[in-house]
Amino acid sequence: MTEPVVAIEGLRKSYGSVLAVRGVDLDVTKGEVFGLLGPNGAGKTTILECLEGLRRADAGRLRVASCDPQAEEGHLRRHLGVQLQSGTLPGGLKVKEALGLVCAWHGIEQRPDLYDRLGLRELLHRRFAQLSAGERRRVELALALVHDPEVIALDEPTAGLDVESRARLHAEVRSLSAAGVTVLLATHDMAEAEKLCDRIAIVIGGRIAFCGTPDAVTAAGSSETRIRLRTRLGRLPAADVGLARFLRVKGDYREWTCTDAAAAVTDILRVVQVEHDVVEDLRVELPTLEERFLELVKEAERA
């Protein structure tokens, strides 16, 4: 089995009387994009900050790229790139100067290839105070990537980004992962997590409520698949069809829900054939990560 690049065992962290993280265990392997999802105050950022060596854990064992983030900060910085949720630089500092400074501290030359990839070329001579929120996020990402780290931690990386910048960041995360870089991603954006992450952990109340692939997380819920169908003659009954439970008529569409989509669609198509009707539009909508996430939050609130 592959040695995990990021390992957390029994992490606990409190702020005064507030227990923010209550015994978290996680393993993330090389090249994996691992998402941390959760409502505000769930403990995602605290987990990341403990891994980044910014917060001292009360208990637990942490490893990032074979170093202890709580004790080996110098070593950690060479192997870990971090984009903070609320990072900033002095307003008078130019982008090129900031990148040059970080390169100097890592003992490397400037990285024009990276600046091109992240679309920073036109920003290099602008001061940090003159950048938009999205442009700042791109600069912060460049600061995190400039030394080619083995692990990168991104906290809400697409917050405030426009569609193009978001797509560029997603492409960057995919190419990092393909190159063997391990990506830790804390986000509120379910669609982003579903699209980018190999595995996700849903953090609720300082605990991991669920961990697995996005498909496994959605499949584990009670949410059902929705089938929407429009036929040319509209002859289908507004009723249950085999395994498909009738939901409603909406415009020209009949809607059903089911747990076994393949079997339910087969049953519906059989009726279409029997009725000598013709399918014009058929949509199968799987339960989303967002629905499953909300379900888990509700379960946690009830508990």
């Binding site: 060596g53 910014l54 917060r55 971090v82 100067e97 400074l101 912060e140």
Partner: protein, 247 residues
């Protein structure tokens, strides 16, 4: 060392772009120098004898105690220190760069005062210019050490301003810079011994100008240096152990 040098050079360029730095380190001390120099020279010719030293103590104390904490607290409050830290720049390097840039600016102001005092107010040059600048260097080291400590300890900008005033006002009023410390009540004279400005005034008078002083001027110089060492050590210790705060 190359990275530290590049960082320092960048900081000096940033300081030139920053109005607050120019105000704290240059404009206010020099305006005060001209205003107070004119007053001192007219009301008491004896004060004119050590005018350059007195105004240097004022400028350095103000620049270091009022000016040094501000960017440190601002960096902590805004999250800049965290961003630099996760980008691989050690916290103590950030502190060192702030300190060295402040040292540079305040040394420049001290040189300007040293050069202009004889021209503007007919203030005599010190008997021992080498010792004069040795005292300037120790005063800078000590005052910047206290400024760093305030910057690291203060929770926010308002608290930093309060701490700075607690150190700055007694430094101006009790150190002997404005009037002889012998006129002060004994308790205030004792209190003044905790301030590097007091020891710097004694060291300037005794070592650089060859005047009689209440304390041994060499011992005063050593004490000022000692206060500086304490300030620096405590500031670095506090910053390094602050894993769980804004740093």
């Amino acid at each position: 060392m190359r990275a530290l040098g590049a960082h320092l050079w960048l900081q000096l360029r940033l300081d030139v772009r920053e109005k607050g730095t120019l105000l704290n380190f240059y404009l206010v001390p020099l305006v005060f120098f001209f205003a107070m120099g004119a007053v001192f020279a007219s009301i008491d010719p004896a004060l004119r004898a050590v005018l350059a030293a007195s105004m240097t103590v004022f400028a350095v104390t103000m620049g270091a105690i009022m000016g040094v904490p501000t960017p440190i607290v601002r960096m902590r409050e805004a999250g800049t220190l965290r961003t630099l830290r996760v980008s691989g720049i050690p916290r103590r390097a950030v502190l060192a760069v702030q300190a060295v840039s402040a040292f540079f600016h305040l040394l420049c102001v001290s040189l300007v005062i040293f050069a202009l005092a004889p021209l503007a107010f007919q203030a005599p040059l010190p008997q021992a210019p080498g010792l004069y600048f040795a005292v300037v260097a120790v005063l800078l080291f000590a005052s910047i050490g206290l400024g760093l400590l305030i910057g690291v300890v203060a929770r926010d900008q308002a608290f930093a301003t309060m701490l700075s005033m607690i150190v700055f006002l007694p430094s101006v009023l009790l150190s002997g810079m404005m009037f002889p410390a012998s006129l002060l009540p004994r308790v205030l004279r004792w209190l003044a011994l905790a301030l590097p400005a007091t020891h710097a005034v004694q060291a300037f008078d005794g070592l650089a100008y060859g005047l009689r002083t209440a304390q041994n001027p060499a011992l005063s110089l050593a004490t000022a240096g000692g206060i500086g060492v304490i300030g620096w050590v405590l500031a670095i210790w506090k910053l390094e152990r602050a894993a769980d705060i804004q740093a």
